[in-house]
């Protein structure tokens, strides 16, 4: 190849590679600096942990044309209003438990994980839990010992993972808090549990 065109030269592409890489990375850093405050705990998109003291709903937004979480009247988890620190401690216990029990290698959280079991993004709002009043205890009991409970018609069951009562309550708090995150309408067309009084 006897070409000496600038666009075919090694040094042109070396410089391009360096500038494109550096430039993209700088843009990524800037976007990260913009995004992180918007998803910090207590922001509009990711509410404070004390949101678990309230009813959380997932409602269709006429402007965005997708469902978005809304925070409703006070509706404390396990009947007890928690202050910010207590709420954080409980959600933290729950999040740590989901990691320690390797939930993500069967379930998805915010759609990420494995595909052997249902997505947990809106698990708190799932109709599976029956009524609003029985939901919390149902969830705790299920997480502690799912092996004998009815799951589905295909015989797939969650195993017992040695979750304590306290850890199970933490997991429920974590799931309730996670359902309040604004996920841009994911999951779409979700049908929530009846929560009206």
């Amino acid at each position: 190849m006897a070409t000496s065109q600038w666009w075919a030269s090694e040094s042109f592409w070396r410089k391009t590679a360096i500038w494109v890489t550096g430039g993209s990375f700088v843009v990524l850093i800037l976007l990260t600096m913009d995004t992180l405050p918007q998803i910090s705990t207590g922001s509009k998109r990711v509410p404070a942990y004390s949101v678990i003291n309230h009813r959380i709903e997932y409602k269709f937004d006429e402007q965005r044309k997708v469902q978005v979480p809304t925070i409703g009247a006070e509706e404390p988890l396990f009947g007890k209003v928690l202050n910010e620190e207590e709420a954080e401690a409980l959600v933290k216990l729950g999040k740590l438990t989901t990691q320690a029990k390797n939930c993500m290698n069967c379930h998805t959280l915010l759609g990420n994980g494995a595909y052997y079991a249902p997505d947990l993004t809106k698990a708190w709002l799932d109709q599976y839990w029956g009524t609003r009043d029985s939901r919390e205890e149902q969830m705790v009991e299920f997480i502690k010992d799912p092996s004998t409970r009815l799951h589905n018609g295909i015989g797939r069951r969650m195993p017992r993972l040695g979750v304590t009562d306290e850890e199970a309550r933490g997991v429920v708090a974590f799931l309730k808090w996670m359902s309040s995150i604004d996920t841009n309408g994911f999951p779409y067309n979700f049908k929530s549990i009846e929560q009206e009084n």
Binding site: W13, A17, S24, N102, N105, N112, G113, D119, T164, Y188
Partner: protein, 481 residues
């Protein structure tokens, strides 16, 4: 000095002797990946299999962790393999590199044993430090993370110091910078936070910027080396292509990260950024196909190592279809809303990891064996017409394609029934999982998985025997220079 047809480490230079150790462990871990994948796939069909003994989450974790680690071992092996030739200098700090190989391998063994025997722990930070971090792909407990960082720093030192003392080629320069990025990015995944949006934000830095950026550049380096070695392409050509690929890969891949930021709580502007840049991600992969196929065609596919050349071509196409086409199919947010977290992802993941990475490492296995057996003949007219490598190539590729398409069919069912119609509820999830079309896909996946496993067994057999007792010396690639 070289003994033809006999596995003899005297045939290898220092870096290459270390490389074949990495390759050996990589092959063993590939076997583990296949085995645990078969278990996990079977659990979709027979849910009571190993219930509360070896549950799906354990099998799946070992399946994907074995994948990450065997590919990493394949990359490190490939780097040590080409290091002395590229730099024209002995590996600096090789003793330390050898020590680190044993440290890393012991750590991997302990981690896997803990995964299998301990599996889960209490909901405390100590579990994350000692047993399992519980974050997909980077489940390795924190102590192992630290071990990995130290190990890779040593490898980085080996590579950077060797190139500095010897000759800094274009491949060398890209490799050193890429490894620095690879190791730096891993740190982004090494902390705990309760805020799951922030957690997943950084978690994707590790997963995406590894798999869709730094790993792609790593294989571009290996491809450049492979084409020079196997086909005899001129350095100036492969290095110019390498720079083009780096520009296109990092130019699309770094901001393509945005396609993981649609649904985790992050702002809506990621729709446009992630959608646009990730839609460009296939472009460099097209370039690689053109590059590899053109170079092969220009030499009438005359090459010194037929199995390696075949796997390099499999890599070019596999990377394009698996990472490029299968990724593109569901990367725009408007479709991803329904496909995110379904068997679509599994389908894409399988073909992409195999096509982009497994293939090129298998090519390197063959290059290594050719030299290890004293630069033996590996072109045409192998004993039995080379049926073992040809059949294993066929079984592995058809097996993988079959699995991919099966999961895609299941993924369509899932995205429509569970996602679009039923709205991702528990009921909707199981309505899709129980659908005959979905179940059929899972059966076909397992069947093709068995075919893939047969291909793996044949591959091991071939690697153990190819070139044994061969009396013809390697026909060197015809260089243009």
């Amino acid at each position: 000095m070289a003994t033809l047809g006999v596995l003899d480490s005297a045939n290898l230079n220092g870096g290459q002797r270390l490389a074949v150790k990495y390759f050996t462990v990589a092959l063993v871990l590939l076997g583990a990946q296949v085995l645990f994948g078969l278990f996990a796939g079977l659990q979709y069909l027979k849910p009571d299999l190993f219930y509360e003994t070896l549950d799906f989450n354990v099998n799946r974790m070992v399946h994907i962790n074995a994948l990450v680690v065997w590919l990493l071992y394949g990359f490190l092996g490939s780097v040590y393999w080409l290091l002395e030739e590229e730099s024209e200098h002995e590996v600096a700090g090789l003793k330390l590199g050898n020590l680190i190989f044993w440290v890393l391998t012991s750590a991997v063994t302990v981690v896997v044993l803990v995964y299998l025997l301990v599996q889960v722990g209490p909901g405390k930070e100590s579990t994350i430090w000692l047993i399992n971090e519980g974050r997909e792909y980077i489940e390795a407990p924190r102590w192992a993370d630290i071990g990995i960082v130290v190990s890779v720093l040593v490898v980085f030192y080996n590579v950077a110091a060797t190139f500095s003392k010897g000759r800094y080629t274009g491949i060398g320069g890209v490799l050193v910078l890429d490894m620095l990025a690879l190791f730096g990015i891993y740190l982004a995944g090494m902390f705990y936070t309760t805020n799951i949006s922030v957690d997943q934000y950084w978690w994707w830095w590790v997963i995406h910027l590894w798999v869709e950026a730094t790993w792609e550049v790593m294989v571009a380096c290996i491809m450049a080396y492979g084409l020079m070695r196997v086909l005899g392409v001129r350095r100036k050509i492969v290095e110019t292509w390498l720079y083009i690929e780096v520009a296109l890969m990092f130019g699309s891949g770094i901001l393509g990260l945005g396609h993981h930021y649609f649904w985790i709580g992050t702002p809506e502007y990621w729709f446009s950024i992630g959608g646009f840049f990730s839609a460009l991600e296939p472009v460099p992969l097209v370039a690689m196909v053109v590059h590899a196929v053109f170079d092969a065609g220009a030499r009438h596919a005359k090459n010194s190592n037929h199995p390696a050349m075949a796997w390099l071509i499999a890599h070019a196409f596999g990377n394009f279809f698996g990472a490029g086409v299968w990724g593109f199919m569901h990367t725009l947010p408007q479709i991803n809303l329904y496909t995110h977290g379904t068997q679509w992802s599994a389908s894409h993941g399988h073909l992409a990891f195999f096509g982009a990475y497994a293939t090129i490492i298998i090519a390197m296995f063959y290059v290594a064996l050719q030299y290890w057996r004293g630069k033996t003949w590996m072109a045409g007219e192998l004993p039995g017409n080379g049926w073992k490598w040809k059949w294993s190539l066929g079984l592995l590729n058809i097996g993988m394609l079959g699995m991919t398409v099966s999961m895609l069919v299941s993924g369509y069912v899932q995205s429509q029934i569970e996602r679009a119609i039923e709205g991702s509820s528990w009921i909707g999830y199981f309505a899709a999982q129980a659908h005959p079309w979905f179940v059929q896909g899972m059966w076909w996946r397992e069947l093709f998985g068995v075919m893939f496993a047969a291909g793996f067994v044949l591959l091991v057999w071939d690697l153990l025997t190819i070139g044994r007792g061969e009396t013809r010396a390697m026909q060197p690639a015809v260089s243009e220079e």
